[in-house]
């Protein structure tokens, strides 16, 4: 830095009050930037957490036969043509779970543990009449591992088809999907066992599969790949099967969050504007308290260009420092969201109960850039104000 610019900065920032004010400004500006970054991060974090939860429970693609039950072998040869890394067949049914004096409608999934675990990354171990309940379901019904529950299916068979059938299961564990509704409604039993109960032999009513090379949860290319594969499979199976990408179940919510992210980011510009007024106040404070110095150094040989450079450097320094501090504030917010119980979301309202900020570098770039634009606007106003007065006028006014 040019020594004369440095001298001016030293003069402008001399005194404890200026430094205290400067620190306050940096904190308030960085806080405003953090608010915007954290909001975007929470929105994207919600999006990622929701998709992770859905993918955990559903795999990449869900295939269901429009006619009800079917055998995997019927379409296996056609699915083999595609880049599918893991696949599992399940029986999905709705039922009632009765425990002690309470009952609740649930989604029961009959799964073959080995292949299901590969697709979903769960670690289910289910034999015979074992049942694994969603984490919230277990808690809401006040059940513990080892308890027995009764599952009520809609109708019986043969002579009893007008009556429900009841089957006893033993709770052997609980799972967390990361999505509140699924944790509250889902239960898992052994596929072979449920097929035997329903008399289905090898039949299933859903296939869950993962697509090769589609690990990244937030990549648009991955979404495109899964969507395209689903459409190809539907075409290949003559429209008799529906291929549903994992995010479709909450597609409306995901879309709404995306729209909300944009609108909230725009609204939150107000926060930046408020802190920019603080920066402006600081500039005015310096302009007033250091006006003697400013006019005198100009009289003694500082050019307008150097003076302007000093102001721009000062304001850009405030911006840079604020961005730096906001980076750490974002990290602290993220830590708080993940570790402080007071910051946990009510899952029944927000679907996911735990969030982590998810911020792509481009969002840092955009938010920092927008705040820089504001700072440059302030710089322009400041320089305009400064250039309006002749040196000698300023000297006489300030020293009189």
């Amino acid at each position: 830095m040019h020594s004369s610019t440095f001298s001016i900065l030293k003069i402008l920032l001399s005194g404890k009050n200026s430094i205290k004010f400067l620190l306050g400004i940096v904190l308030s500006f960085s806080f405003s930037i953090t608010v915007i970054l954290a909001t975007i991060g929470i929105m994207d974090g919600f999006d990622v957490a929701l998709k992770k939860g859905l993918r955990k429970a559903e795999g990449d693609l869900k295939i269901q036969y429009r006619g009800g039950f079917f055998e995997l072998e019927q379409i296996e040869d056609k699915l083999d043509l595609h880049p599918i890394s893991e696949i599992t067949g399940i029986v999905r049914s709705e039922a009632f779970l009765i425990s002690k004096d309470r009952s609740k409608g649930i989604v029961l999934r009959g799964v073959e543990p080995d292949s299901f675990n590969e697709v979903t990354k769960f670690k289910l171990e289910l034999v015979e009449n074992d049942i694994v309940l969603g984490h919230e379901l277990l808690a809401e019904l006040g059940l513990s591992i080892g308890d027995e529950v009764v599952i009520v299916f809609a109708s019986g068979r043969g002579d009893h088809e007008q009556l429900p059938t009841l089957h006893r299961f033993k709770v052997v564990g609980d799972v967390s999907h990361g999505i509140y509704e699924k944790d509250l409604r889902y239960a898992y039993v052994n596929l072979t066992y449920i097929q035997k109960l329903f008399g289905l032999e090898n039949q299933i009513n859903q296939i869950l599969l993962n697509v090769e090379g589609a690990q990244k949860i937030d990549s648009p290319a991955v979404f495109e790949k899964i969507t395209t594969l689903g459409e190809t499979i539907e075409d290949q199976l003559n429209g008799l099967y529906r291929a549903i990408p994992f995010w479709i179940e909450y597609g409306g919510l995901i879309e709404a969050v995306k729209v909300e992210k944009v609108s909230i980011t725009i609204v939150l510009q107000i926060v930046v504007v408020v802190s920019i007024f603080n920066v402006l106040a600081f500039v005015m404070f310096l302009g007033e308290t250091r006006s003697k110095e400013i006019f005198l150094v100009e009289a003694l040989g500082i050019s307008k260009k150097v003076m302007n450079r000093a102001w721009v450097l000062l304001l850009c320094g405030i911006w840079g420092l604020s961005c730096f501090v906001s980076f750490f504030l974002v990290e602290i917010t993220d830590y708080g969201l993940q570790n402080l119980s007071m910051l946990e979301l009510p899952g029944d309202v927000y679907t996911v109960s735990k969030l982590a900020l998810f911020l792509e570098p481009k969002y840092y770039g955009i938010v920092f850039l927008i705040s820089l634009v504001w700072v440059l606007v302030i710089s322009a106003v400041t320089l305009y104000r400064m250039s309006r007065k002749e040196i000698i006028q300023g000297l006489r006014q300030e020293f009189s």
Binding site: I8, K292, L296, K305, E390
Partner: protein, 219 residues
């Protein structure tokens, strides 16, 4: 060679004409005093020569260079290195001690401080203010402040010393001391001296005198 040549300088403040066509020149090493009553335009002329203000029309040549054609940076450098200002109200910064006030031109001009400090210390002793350099301006008397002001003006060995009512706030004894110092210092430094004053006693110390009345030079 003329150090300064002023050609038909006019200066207006709104509809008020303060300078009405000034023509004047002076050479290197000369001592001049410019007198006139309050509001006659003498300080305005001084600040135009010093590059602190711009003329409405006319030209000022410094070593044959037209001041109005100098860039902002060259003009700033001219104020910093070529000119030494002695202001009536001292214009010492209250937030800095005297030494820092004196070193201000060197600092903003990016000049190495060591030799400047040696030069200042030498003259501070002569002016009897060497013990005041660590004090703040508000701790000094008017005469002492003016001597610090003088030290700041000569700190970078300027070619032209411009003094605006340098004795305006001083009693007659201190006035004579300051005038004597100005003459001695400018002689030693080989600097041209231009003093603006309304005090006839001060003006009496100089043989080169001009008078300004209503924005015009009359003698």
């Amino acid at each position: 060679m003329n150090l300064i040549e002023i050609k038909d300088i006019k200066k207006n403040f709104g509809s008020t004409q303060v300078l009405r066509g000034i023509n004047f020149k002076f050479s290197e090493g000369e001592h001049w005093v410019l007198t006139g009553s309050s509001g006659s335009g003498k300080s305005t002329l001084l600040y135009l020569i010093g590059g602190l203000d711009t003329a409405s029309s006319g030209k000022i040549f410094v070593e044959n260079k037209d001041l109005s054609l100098l860039s902002d940076e060259v003009l700033a450098n001219y104020r910093n290195k070529f000119i030494g200002f002695v202001f009536q109200f001292h214009y010492l910064l209250p937030s800095m001690n005297c030494m820092n006030n004196i070193l201000l031109p060197a600092r903003i001009g990016g000049v190495v401080e060591g030799p400047v400090k040696d030069h200042i210390m030498c003259y501070a002793e002569r002016l009897g203010v060497e013990k005041l350099l660590t004090k703040y301006p508000y701790q000094l008397s008017g005469g002492e402040q003016q001597r610090i002001n003088l030290l700041r003006a000569i700190s970078l060995r300027p070619k032209l010393l411009l003094c605006d009512e340098p004795t305006g706030n001083l009693d007659s004894t201190n006035s004579q001391i300051v005038v004597k110092l100005l003459k001695e210092l400018s002689l030693e430094l080989g600097a041209t001296l231009l003093i603006v004053t309304h005090d006839e006693n001060v003006a009496g110390n100089f043989s080169n005198r001009i008078k300004m009345v209503d924005g015009r030079l009359v003698q």
